[in-house]
Structures are given as structure tokens and as C-alpha cells.
Point group: C2
Chain length 136, copies 2
Amino acid sequence: MRVGSEVDNGAQAPTSDKSHNDCPGRVLYRHVAGRWAGPIVLELWPEPLRFHRLRDALPGISEKVLAQNLRELVRDGLVTRTVEPTRPPQVTYSLTQLGNDLASQIHGLLTWVGNHTPEVLAARRRHDEQQQQQAS
Amino acid sequence: MRVGSEVDNGAQAPTSDKSHNDCPGRVLYRHVAGRWAGPIVLELWPEPLRFHRLRDALPGISEKVLAQNLRELVRDGLVTRTVEPTRPPQVTYSLTQLGNDLASQIHGLLTWVGNHTPEVLAARRRHDEQQQQQAS
DNA sequence: CGGTATCCCATGCGATACTG
DNA sequence: CAGTATCGCATGGGATACCG
């Protein structure tokens, strides 16, 4: 609770010049660890997919966000976008070699999460119960 | 602080109740893939560290966010918090076995990023140049 | 089919001040 | 030393409508 009546002076220096924040590796990590980049790459791992197939494989994603992520992945050389000039047009996304390497790392992380979520939930329950007891 | 704790879907009801959004694995992934959880776990991988040591090892993190992440990690059974009742108190954070497993996955992803950032940057430059040409 | 455009909200994170 | 409290922005991402 606001002890001193000091008003927060809203201008919080964006920290923008701290060199480690602009570090490209940092930025790239933030992207590949984002909410959807990992899952998308994993979907493309076994086989190339078209836009709507990809969307359907990722329940909950919006087309906007899927498109954003794909654009970024293509730009970063992790995914290839191939257009078949048919009618209607077909656009296929596939992993590059670089993207393939990344996929194996993502896979490791994501399957770890899949395998150990129950243990984490159990630990969490134990922890919360102890907190409960201490509170009482 | 109850960060991302429970369901609590105050968010803009993503098509209402799509169960996959509340899926514990999804939530856990969002956490370990967050901006700092990965780096923190990696710092603890070689050896346990105290709060300020950890903060200093992670340039740019605020104490608030470090504390938040550590609390969550402890709650999830990935990190152990040990208090030495000396004067002044010493608090040491170390990985559990579960946290150790996670660390190796994170390590894979983070070192991949470290090793391949130059290639990504090169790809990005190539891509941006092509866009430039098409625009003209 | 394969996207963009627009609008808006929830959440994460940073900065600063204070406490046991 | 090891945190908590408070405030506020920036950003990612969701919903919806529209375009080539």
C-alpha cells in the first residue's frame, strides 16, 4: 500500500539500450519459445502442411497469429513457403534443414512437458497443501 | 502471486471453453518457455545459487520477476528453496531431479539458438533484400 | 483457399520504493 | 541479504470482418 504519496512517474525508460536486450539470440529465443512457434514447427516436422491443415492441427490458434508466425519463420529461414499456382492456389509450408534441427530441440522440450506434467501437478498439489496448513 | 495459476479465463473467451486452452501441459509449456524460466533453470544447472547471485547472472531481470519465477518453479517441484537461518539469512536455490531433466531440454534449445543465430540473421538479411527488390 | 485489417484486452515485465 | 508492494506500459494474441 502506497505509503508515500509519491505518484508513479509513468515514463519507464524502455531499458532499450541494455545491450543484452537487443542481443539477437535473446530475440530469437523469445520468438521460438513463443506460444505458437514451437507447436507450429512440430506440426511441420513429420511432413509439410498447407495453411488450413496447419490451422486445424493447432486448435485454438487464430489465422492472424498463424500467419504472423509463419511469416517470421520464413523470414528466419526456418520454413519454406511454396505456392502452387493452381486454381484455387495451394500454399505449402515445410521445414528447411535449419528448421528441422530446431524442431528436434523443440520436440525434446515439448515431450518432456508432456511426460512430466503429472509429476508437476502432483508437486504443485503437495506444495499448495503445505501452504494451506501454514496459513491455518 | 498466483501468476498464471488456474483456469481463470477472464480472457476473451476463446471460442468459449475449448479445453485445450486450460490443458495443464499447455500452461506448463507457457511457463517454462517464458522469458526467464529457461535462463534461470540453466543458471542453476551447474550449481545451486543464492538469490542475488542468480540476479547478477541474469542481466536485465528485475528482482520482482526473478522472485515470481522462482516461486513458481518451487511450486512446480522443479527447484528447491533452502534457507540457512544465519544472520543475515542465506537462501539457496537448487534444481530437483525433475528440474534437472528439464534443464537438459532447455539447454538443447538454448544452445541451438546460440549456435544458429548467425545463420538466421543471414537468412533474414537475404529475405529482407528480396522484399526490398520486389517493392521497387 | 489463403490470407489482411482492425480493434481490443490480458498478461508479463520493468522501474522504483520499501520491509524483515 | 532476500525479498514484497505498487504502478503502468508494451506486447502477444484473440475475435471478427473483409480481400485477391
